[in-house]
């Protein structure tokens, strides 16, 4: 009886909610009556240990906006979808920024860099849901469906759920991809309008997740196309079971998953927005993994032998000088200000040491990182000399705009601004700290109304271009995130070459030179690369954090520390070894 109403639930429309509740109430009354007859539960032979053994609870920081990563840009939504429900053609090797095969077994890139041919795996199945049972495994149609929905406004699914694909548009994918061709059932060809070497990295990001074309057809027949985004079906390691807004998301292990067999049977996201409460839940053992711990939590956790899993993130916090406004148009002034700031004390006070000092715009984990760039020394004496050379020995006053919200890469811009204010007072520079509500702040900064600004950036993909082009290119100073309004033709040429040439060694050379110019011209003071960190209970095995930041529970298991290794777990690891 319960089972039946469960199926009905999916076909329930808005107006039938009440009727449904009424029928449930009747059910309740009849069941309550049953209690007295059958007071001892017969089926509950599950002990508490059985129930917790194969359950992993992740205390997450918010509700996802959608279960289709193509429609959103928030990290919270990506964490609940990209590596859980879906796969992409290529992916990052866990914990690194190296591209490895995923749904695509292998790929070829033509010599001119305009054609990418992907050979798909033939053993990939889609999830089964209450309204959908896949009849075939993954093929080229699914890839075409997933990209064409975002790319072509004529596509039948383009307008479903609003017709906006923010990430796809922001990356100018519509201009980059000329055509996508199905060569045969398991071979797809992407034809680009221009060579773009970060393309593989872009295909590893959440918006490039592959959805089922067959599921879309099925939903069309049911006349509920919008379910494709709210009742997700993918190929990922877990299948969607239930979502209660603001409470939890329940996932079940997908038994036919093509990848790593080691996974827990039940995965639950416990949505807990308040960081203090999240930590309290974690401390009490209510969750196994906790997202976004505050620095103070990390300190407590380290003291108490909890696992702190950390990696330097692909992000940067910076102080951008608006180079179009005096006195920042003078490179000497920019260098002088950069020298006067004591970044060590920022690292201590603002980040609680959960970050590393930044020299270049890209973090050291990137292959394009130039180790030989000369660091700017912290020296107030040298700064005063430079200001004198520039003709500002009597000092001047500037505005620093501090972003009003907290981000992992910049936990407290206001405090950062105050430290800079004190440092600059020593070299006769008077600082006024300015802040606005976040939306206003961003729009005013985009219009170039600021003097200088404390901001940051979290990379969406691991390619170095994801830092240089959006943040420092000439094009982005007109329409983008180049808040220093800095346009250096030599630098711009180098990063364009870096973006279009296909050999990594050549690209590295261009980026090395570009980083030299950047440091010498100092449009920003690079401040820090914050660590990505999560807290993990000792019983959780195999959790790896990604520098890009998306959560992944593939290969994560629950161990029982007080018991001998269960037999089944050993078998499973043998299976993996045999693959």
């Amino acid at each position: 009886m319960i089972k039946k109403s469960n199926e009905n639930k999916d076909l329930m429309t808005n107006s039938s909610v009440y009727r449904d509740v009424a029928s449930k109430a009747k059910l309740l009354i009849s069941l309550t009556a049953l209690f007295c007859v059958a007071c001892s539960p017969e089926d509950s032979d599950l002990t508490e240990q059985d129930r917790t053994q194969d359950l992993l609870v992740y205390c997450s920081e918010g509700s996802p906006d959608s279960f289709n990563p193509q429609l959103v840009t928030s990290g919270t939504s990506y964490d609940a979808t990209a590596n859980i429900l879906y796969n992409q053609l290529v992916t990052y090797k866990p914990g690194t920024t190296e591209i490895v095969p995923s749904l695509a077994r292998s790929w070829d890139i033509s010599d001119d860099g305009l054609r990418y041919t992907f050979n798909l795996r033939q053993d990939v199945s889609f999830h089964t849901s209450q309204v959908f049972t896949p009849s075939r495994s993954l093929n080229a149609d699914d890839v075409l469906f997933s990209f064409n929905r975002q790319r072509l406004s004529s596509h039948p699914y383009h307008g479903i759920s609003g017709g906006r694909y923010p990430y796809f548009t922001a990356q100018s994918m519509d201009q980059l991809i000329k055509d996508i061709r199905k060569v045969n059932d398991h071979k797809v060809e992407f034809i680009l309008t221009r060579p773009e070497s970060p393309f593989l990295s872009i295909l590893a990001t959440p918006f490039a997740s592959i959805l089922s074309a067959e599921y879309a057809e099925q939903l069309n027949r049911l006349r509920r196309p919008e379910w494709i985004d709210s009742k997700p079906v993918g190929t990922g390691p877990f299948r969607f079971e239930r979502y209660e807004p603001d409470a939890y998301i329940r996932f079940k292990r997908f038994e036919d998953y093509f990848g790593d067999k080691r996974r827990v049977k039940n995965l639950v996201y416990a949505i807990t927005p308040d960081a203090a409460m999240r930590f309290a839940r974690f401390s009490a053992g209510e969750c196994d993994v906790m997202s976004y711990p505050l620095p103070v939590h990390l300190r407590v956790a380290q003291k108490n032998d909890l696992q702190v899993v950390q990696t330097p993130g692909l992000n940067i916090a910076y102080w951008a000088f608006n180079t179009e406004k005096p006195p920042f148009h003078d490179v000497k002034v920019r260098q002088a200000l950069a020298m006067a700031v004591d970044r060590e004390s920022i690292l201590q006070t603002v980040y609680d040491r959960q970050a590393s000092l930044a020299t270049n715009p890209i973090p050291p984990s990137s292959w394009a990182y130039n180790k030989n760039v000369k660091k700017i020394p912290h020296s107030k004496r040298r700064a005063l000399e430079l200001l004198k050379e520039a003709g500002y020995e009597n000092g001047f006053s500037i505005d620093i705009w501090a972003m009003p919200i907290q981000r992992a890469y910049n936990p407290n811009a206001r405090k950062m601004a105050e430290i800079i204010q004190q440092d600059l007072a020593d070299i006769n520079v008077d600082v006024r700290i300015v802040t606005y509500e976040w939306g206003t702040f961003l729009s005013r900064v985009s219009r170039g109304l600021h003097h200088s600004v404390l901001l940051g950036w979290n990379a969406d993909n691991a390619d170095p271009n994801n830092f240089f082009s959006p943040l420092l290119s000439c094009a982005s100073s007109v329409n983008g995130n180049n808040y220093a309004n800095w346009c250096d033709n030599r630098f711009d040429e180098l990063i364009l070459k870096g973006r279009t040439s296909s050999k990594q060694s050549e690209r590295k050379e261009y980026y090395d030179q570009a980083q030299e110019i950047f440091k010498q011209q100092a449009p920003w003071l690079t401040i820090a690369h914050a660590n990505n960190s999560v807290l993990v209970q000792p019983r959780v095995k195999g959790f790896i954090i990604s520098p890009i930041g998306n959560i992944n529970f593939e290969g994560v298991t629950i161990g029982l520390p007080d018991q001998k290794q269960p037999r089944s777990q050993k078998q499973e690891s043998d299976e993996v070894a045999n693959q």
Partner: protein, 319 residues
């Protein structure tokens, strides 16, 4: 009696009119319109707006693209469960403490109870909630920290009242799930009930003391009726009238308290939903939520007014 009821209904209509005009004006200020109106005149648009509300079209959330009314109804049972439980706690404990204090007037028990209730009355609820979590969940480990139930219980939401849903899963988990849900309810309910409990206790005490001083009680006492009987049969019924009024006023305190309590305990009710909507600038949800909550408060007060008319013979009788 009929005139009193009509008067109440009139007040209700005026409140609703003011409320909808206010939310309508607010919705006009938003950049992304919640409803599509046919007319250009704001006056006619208002009537269209009312029509939309009656048809159940409260707009779509700009973030999730879900119906606001449906979202509200989905989150509401969790809130109701918490409020009902907290209210039961507040009324029973508050009444008991008040009676206890009034019968031992001036004694140490009275003084302690009144001081504690004053503290409880002035407690910032978010701080109090955190303190309870620290003590009972983290230090003593008696209660769970947050949520409605442990996740090892996979409870399908039929009614969305967790206590009922867990009973419906009896064949799967026995009473374990039900007890677990009850266990999760304790700390949030205690947090939420603290302020109303203190107010009810103080009110009961002063009201009961006033009644106990009155002539008819003195008469009863002189007739040799036992103290118990005087309090329970004769005094309390008359003392209840102002307590009932005060309890009604508590609903708005409870409503604002429940928002904070839900946030602290990650309780997936209206409060958490509204706060989430505020942080995402989801205007349709904020507007719909505020409107629905206000209507509930108004309706609740109306019911209480009717109840006090029914209970108070002076109001019942035509003047």
């Amino acid at each position: 009696m009929i005139t009193s009821i009509l008067k109440q209904l009139g007040t209700l209509l005026i409140s609703l009119l003011g409320l909808t005009v206010l939310t309508f004006i607010l919705s006009q200020q938003s950049d992304s319109p919640i409803h599509q109106y046919q007319s250009d005149s704001a006056f006619i648009q208002y009537f269209e707006y009312i029509q939309f509300l009656f048809n159940g079209d409260w707009g779509m959330s700009s973030i999730h693209k879900r119906s606001v009314l449906k979202d509200f109804l989905q989150h509401f049972p969790a809130t109701i469960e918490l409020i009902v439980f907290a209210m039961i706690l507040a009324v029973t404990t508050g009444l008991a403490l008040g009676i206890l204090a009034s019968t031992r007037r001036g004694g140490w028990l009275d003084n302690t109870l009144m001081t504690t209730s004053l503290i409880g009355y002035s407690m910032p609820i978010f701080w109090w909630g955190m303190l309870l979590v620290l003590l009972f969940s983290l230090t003593l480990g008696w209660t769970p920290v947050a949520g409605r139930i442990s996740f090892e219980f996979d409870i399908e939401p039929f009614t969305r009242f967790m206590l009922i849903d867990t009973l419906l899963h009896h064949n799967k988990y026995g009473f374990d799930a039900f007890l677990n849900a009850l266990h999760h309810l304790i700390l949030p309910a205690v947090t939420l009930s603290t302020i109303p409990m203190a107010i009810i206790a103080r009110m009961t005490r002063s009201s009961l003391l006033a009644v106990l001083k009155s002539e008819y009680i003195r008469t009863a006492r002189s007739k040799g009726i036992s103290k118990q009987r005087i309090i329970w049969i004769h005094a309390l019924r008359n003392a209840l009238q102002p307590i009932l009024t005060i309890s009604g006023v508590q609903i708005s305190i409870i409503m604002s308290g429940v928002i904070i309590t839900e946030y602290i305990f990650a309780w997936p009710g209206i409060g958490k939903w509204l706060l989430e909507a505020v942080s995402r600038r989801d205007f349709a949800s904020i507007q719909g939520g505020v409107l629905a909550l206000s209507i509930i408060v108004i309706a609740f007060n109306l019911v209480l007014d009717f109840l006090s008319i029914y209970l108070n013979p002076r109001l019942r009788r035509p003047s």
